[in-house]
């Protein structure tokens, strides 16, 4: 299943759900990653981690591991 961690540079995706078993899922939701939102991968740091996504009009940097709990359509 495709997650936010699989997005390529500049690629967009629509969130389908958040994996609630991940310890960071609450904060991921709080910062605005909710189902139905469109996100775009804006940048990857060296070693491809963390990733920076555009969501709800801002940019949020998230570790790859945490981005993998954001499921995409």
């Amino acid at each position: 299943m495709k997650t936010a961690a699989d997005l390529k540079y500049g690629e967009t995706g629509i969130i389908s759900g958040i994996d609630g078993s991940h310890p960071s899922s609450r904060r991921i939701l709080e910062v605005g990653f909710t189902p139905g939102q469109e996100i775009e991968l804006i940048s990857k740091a060296v070693f491809n981690d963390p990733l920076a996504f555009s969501v709800r009009g801002t940019i949020i940097a998230v570790r790859k591991n945490e981005a993998s709990c954001i499921k995409l359509l």
Binding site: S24, I28, E30, V31, A45, P50, G57, I59, R63
Partner: protein, 679 residues
């Protein structure tokens, strides 16, 4: 005494996510006439002020650290939230003004909704409406107000637009609440279910849909909701446009967050930061140095060569002056840190360095505390509260004393001026950069080693996380940055000043008394030589010398004598005291030249005992520099480390590990250099 009326005690707290415009509004209301208070546990100081008279409201306003939700994720958020419910000094707020960035309304309404649900007395100040309008949208405050069941006023804290209205509404709310009586806010359950958050966001999205409308070219507005009924796809299109990012920021980030250039620019920015501290400060430092040298000379002239003249000139003026010289460097450091923070670059730096830091058991969020560690370890340790993971936080606290703090600058500057006099100043600058690099390398290695030792030193385990908003780039407001660095510098001197003053007095006493006046044979000696012989004989008979002889055995292996030993011991109270102690021990003052140059002059002449061997050589100076790189000579840092970690375990480990490492490396460097023929 002025009797405080009930109204005088009204407390209005500003709450909102980071960068939502709290401080801008606060400055407008207070007229910058505020006092900074130590927000319990905040990384920065926060301010409280009475609202200016012209607003016709009798209330105080409290700025607060940004939070995104009432459920905390890290120690600093917890403190901010606790203080919101009941501030330890100011109590429960009578009214909460929530700042909501209209251009990010869905994200920012989350906190507002939670506050309303928790029964805080809330009014909403809608900021950045201009940014929303630039995207081609408008927002209806009356719809928002109706949906949220609280007053909503759109303002611009920069120009003051709408602030009068906001205050009028605040006054009405305060009056209304006084009649209905205070109801305590309900504690927020931190273990919220994910469904709750999903539902909350759904609710907020519906509100957003009703309140936001699109502006079409001829000035008429289209209701998104109306359009939505007709064409679902169109609504989607509109929605996306409202989430459009700031294009300038995106362009800058193309370079700043570039995989290769991003990291190159990162290191370049850090290198420029640290070298400019040295270059920019030099001319001002010379000025300060000259003035204190002159003051000390004049004081001795006026008061005469007796005990109080010596106390004022040598004990107070030289002691304080030898440290004040470094004021410019410290101000510049705070200035640059403030600039980096205000542009929005620090968050990017944290993202870029997260992966490398996580390899050694740290976190991208360790970056800002480590950087502040170059100013002072104390605020740096407090800043670690933004790190959610306890293990990473403790490890960051552990290595912070290794960052080259500004208290070391006076020491390095003196020692480097000794090694590279006059025309070779530029080498001193490069060497200083090298010392900074060494401090980074050593702290990173120590973190790596401690991390490898698994649970030997730091026993906590926790889930590691890095989620951080990268704010849009902004041109920093110079007045804000200047104001902040003024406050930081003032706080620094308030902390260091008394210690320096007291210790200068103590060292002066130990070196001056028991006021021994040796009879010396002045035959065949010039006046100058006779004076020198007299003062060195005096010193050899002083209390300081008595104490110093006890530590001589420790100093001999590293090629130094008791005089350096006394200065080193006093530097354990605070590092910069080393310089003022040396100044006192080598009896600087009494001639018209600068403090530093007369001090260097005396240091060049100093010999160990009667051996005729120079005390300060390339080898011993290098050894001293190494000692200061590693040793933990700061009681305040240890006290803060104790407070932040909850026990003496970590600070004691820090003290013994860092100080014994320092001694060992100094021993190796001094004797190694001598073995290589470098004296």
């Amino acid at each position: 005494m002025k009797i405080q009326t009930l109204e005088d005690n009204y407390l209005i707290t500003l709450v909102g996510p980071p960068n939502s415009g709290k401080t801008t509004l606060f400055n407008y209301l207070s007229g910058k006439n505020y006092k900074t208070v130590n927000y319990p546990g905040a990384t920065v100081e926060y301010s409280i002020s009475k609202i200016q008279k012209k607003f016709n409201i009798e209330a105080s306003i409290l700025d607060s650290p940004g939070i995104i939700s009432l459920a905390s994720n890290s120690p600093d958020e917890q403190v901010s939230i606790d203080a919101l419910y009941s501030h330890p000094t100011y109590g429960i707020p009578d009214l909460v003004i929530v700042t909501v960035d209209a251009s990010q309304i869905s994200r920012h309404l989350l906190l507002a909704k939670q506050l309303i649900q928790s029964k805080f007395k809330v009014i909403i100040a809608l900021t950045m409406v201009d940014l929303l309008q630039r995207k081609g949208f408008n927002v209806s405050t009356s719809v928002l107000s109706e949906e949220l069941n609280c007053d909503v006023i759109s303002i611009d804290g920069r120009s003051g637009n709408g602030v009068d209205e906001l205050i009028k509404v605040a006054e009405q709310n305060l009056q209304k609440n006084r009649i209905t009586g205070a109801e305590k806010p309900i504690p927020f359950d931190s273990n919220v279910k994910l469904e709750y958050l999903l539902d909350l966001y759904k609710e907020i999205e519906q509100i957003e849909c009703k309140a936001i409308s699109k502006v079409v070219d001829n000035g008429k507005q289209i209701d998104i909701n109306g359009a939505n009924k007709r064409l679902v796809l169109l609504n989607n299109g509109l929605d996306r446009k409202i989430n459009k990012l700031d294009q300038t920021s995106l362009k800058i980030d193309k370079i700043m967050l570039h995989k290769v250039w991003g990291i190159v620019l990162f290191f370049l920015a850090m290198a420029i930061t640290f070298t400019s501290i040295f270059w920019l400060a030099q001319p001002v430092m010379n000025l300060v140095d000259k003035s204190f040298g002159y003051l000390s000379y004049e004081a001795l002239n006026i008061l005469g060569n007796n005990w109080y003249g010596s106390f004022i000139a040598n004990g107070i003026i030289s002691g304080v002056g030898s440290v004040m010289i470094f004021n410019p460097q410290i101000i510049i450091l705070f200035l640059i840190l403030g600039l980096l923070e205000d542009t929005g670059y620090l968050a990017r730096g944290a993202m870029l360095i997260d992966k490398p830091l996580s390899k050694i058991g740290l976190n991208g969020r360790s970056f800002v505390p480590m950087l502040s560690g170059f100013a002072c370890a104390i605020p740096a340790m407090l800043a670690t509260r933004t790190i959610p993971n306890r293990r990473e936080r403790l490890l960051t606290i552990f290595i912070i004393p290794l960052m080259s703090c500004s208290a070391r600058l006076p020491v390095y500057a003196l020692l480097l001026a000794f090694l590279f006099p006059g025309d070779k100043e530029w080498i001193a600058g490069i060497t200083l950069a090298g010392i900074y690099l060494l401090s980074i390398i050593s702290s990173v290695s120590v973190a790596g080693i401690v991390n490898k030792l698994k649970n030997k030193i730091i026993t906590d385990e926790d889930q590691s996380s890095f989620i951080l908003e990268l704010p849009t780039y902004r041109i920093p407001k110079v007045s804000n940055v200047l104001n902040n660095s003024y406050h930081s510098t003032k706080a620094y001197f308030k902390k260091a000043g008394p210690i320096i003053l007291v210790l200068s007095g103590v060292i002066w006493f130990l070196t001056y008394f028991p006021d021994y006046n040796p009879k010396i044979n002045t035959v065949n000696l010039t006046r100058e030589q006779a004076g020198e012989l007299q003062s060195s004989t005096r010193l050899a008979n002083s209390y300081a010398s008595g104490l110093g002889k006890i530590i001589q055995p420790v100093m001999s292996p590293i090629g130094m004598d008791w005089r350096v030993g006394v200065a080193l011991i006093s530097s354990f109270a605070a590092r910069e005291v080393f310089v003022s102690s040396l100044a006192l021990i080598f009896k600087v003052a009494g001639d018209e030249s600068t403090l530093q140059s007369s001090m260097l002059h005396e240091m060049h002449k100093a010999t160990i005992g009667n051996t005729g061997q120079s005390l300060f050589t390339t080898a011993t100076i290098a050894g001293l520099i190494i000692f200061f790189v590693f040793a933990l000579q700061c009681m305040s840092s240890m006290a803060v480390s104790r407070k932040e970690t909850g026990s003496w375990r970590l600070p004691l480990l820090q003290f013994f590990i860092f100080t014994s490492t320092a001694y060992l490396f100094t021993f190796i460097v001094v004797n190694g250099l001598r073995a290589m023929g470098i004296n």
